[in-house]
Symmetry: C2
Amino acid sequence: MMYHRGAEFAAIVEEVTGRLKHFFQTESDVFVITSSGTGGMEAAVVNTISPGDKVLAVSAGKFGDRFAEIAETHKAQVIRLNFPWGQAADPGVIADALRTDPDVRAVLVTHNETSTGVTHDLEAIARVVSTTDALLLVDAVSSLGALDLPVDAWGCDVVVTGSQKSWMVPPGLAMVSVSPGAWDAVARAQAPRFYFDFTAMRRSATRHFTPFTPAVSLFYGLQEALRLMWAEGRDNIIARHARVGAHTRAGVKALGLEILPDEAYASNTVTAVRVPEGITPQRLRQVMAEEYDVILAGGQDHLADLIVRIGHLGAVVEADIDDALEAMAKALRKLQK
Amino acid sequence: MMYHRGAEFAAIVEEVTGRLKHFFQTESDVFVITSSGTGGMEAAVVNTISPGDKVLAVSAGKFGDRFAEIAETHKAQVIRLNFPWGQAADPGVIADALRTDPDVRAVLVTHNETSTGVTHDLEAIARVVSTTDALLLVDAVSSLGALDLPVDAWGCDVVVTGSQKSWMVPPGLAMVSVSPGAWDAVARAQAPRFYFDFTAMRRSATRHFTPFTPAVSLFYGLQEALRLMWAEGRDNIIARHARVGAHTRAGVKALGLEILPDEAYASNTVTAVRVPEGITPQRLRQVMAEEYDVILAGGQDHLADLIVRIGHLGAVVEADIDDALEAMAKALRKLQK
């Protein structure tokens, strides 16, 4: 491994950070943290809130709930605004909630809810939040890099993503942006933090280092992945994901299957498919894995017996989806016999 | 990457955990966290202390200071017991401090102080702490796996190490053990934690998973490294580090140079060498790197202008040290001209 306090590694951090800012569409700070995406979400919370702060947590799935739980763990006064799993958050209802509680300090939102395959209308939600003094903290773990998310233009204050998603790198890195408004909150926030402290990250970033030993080998991967993404182009990547998402949904419907969410909010990075009556998702996944070498994710919590999920973010094209759906068709025929 | 919620990955976690317990010499829980060693140190603190708890932080270097800072960040009432950098902590003085403050809830100790090349007498310190009700939290980031540290026999409650040290894996994983006594503290501890929560780790560990997406590729490395270590044997590895450490110190002295610490406490994983007057450590490191391709670490904080550090942990044998010292001799001759 390269020495992480040397010029060679600093050059990687500088290149990676510059390219991440392009994909985040931000002029603000972007940091790479050695942790999973959840660590990045905790960083967003502990750097901007104080115990007792009122926080509005918008959720329609497992990851929305997790964001709320993190804020509760750190003693925020969390108002949970839940929408049914599989539906999109309604910006009008969020606006009402913010009118009812004008002293909300931060709004927590999931851009792409991986557990249900829903992409919330973050642009509209951000517009609502921007009319208040609240910060907007965004879990973009499974969206940023694949779905359009102009961080500065929409006014998102802290945005979190993870290396293993659109970035095509093994898991272990979380990437976060911090807006000027978020920095004001950092200066006031009383939640204790050490490993996840943004101020320490900013101090080290002036020399293109990280405050603590980073996952060096994953930085090599991120550097290479960002070069590939740079070559393909941000808009082209977003367009490809839109195309592959539509292709997946059309293919699922052609098999006579239903998609969990309303198509207007169906995600272009993951598709949640209702498994037909009489077949369990567990059995379908098992046959697809063992006989056709195709790995799907199951549903989580109360969706475990209802859905399977097809991931299509990162290095995925239509032909990959065709292979997966062909395997699914064969497995279903076998199980329906 | 392997799916981190599948049977294949669970088998890796099970194998890795079992072997780690052997090297930790413990029957208690061992968890692998995706973070640097500092994240593991923060995990040790937040899982066992509450704001206001009295904590004794023993320090004689940068990493001892860091452990104290983490506890202060989480609002413990920290009693700092400092020894001069380059010296070993005196167990008798620690005993006195614990008699003066019998309500200390936890003692924080660095086993091997990487910043000064000192190995503290953890066995004697642990004996002192065991006569009290205090927990013993150990930063063993740069010792465990290379130096003898029988976690259960010495009664260490939380012990933290890092993948990039003795384990010969790229950085990005922290490994921690948690004793039954520490679990009692976890049940009471009020410091907020989410990503670093031991209870969530224990829940996932029953199925050989991690609570959040782990750095899968680093687990592959850890699995392989532990197989190599298993083949060499724990006692043989410890003996090799003792041999290489002594070899390094003898070689340094043969060059007419001085070792920073008293040799009785000199570390077998890193040697801090005083740079002769008239030469800066920075310049010595630069010449060695550029002309001989040998990378040494510098000193930190007030040791920056005094020392260089030779690392010798992991896959290192006497011949590697001879190469490094030959380069050092040539660089010194060049700079002394």
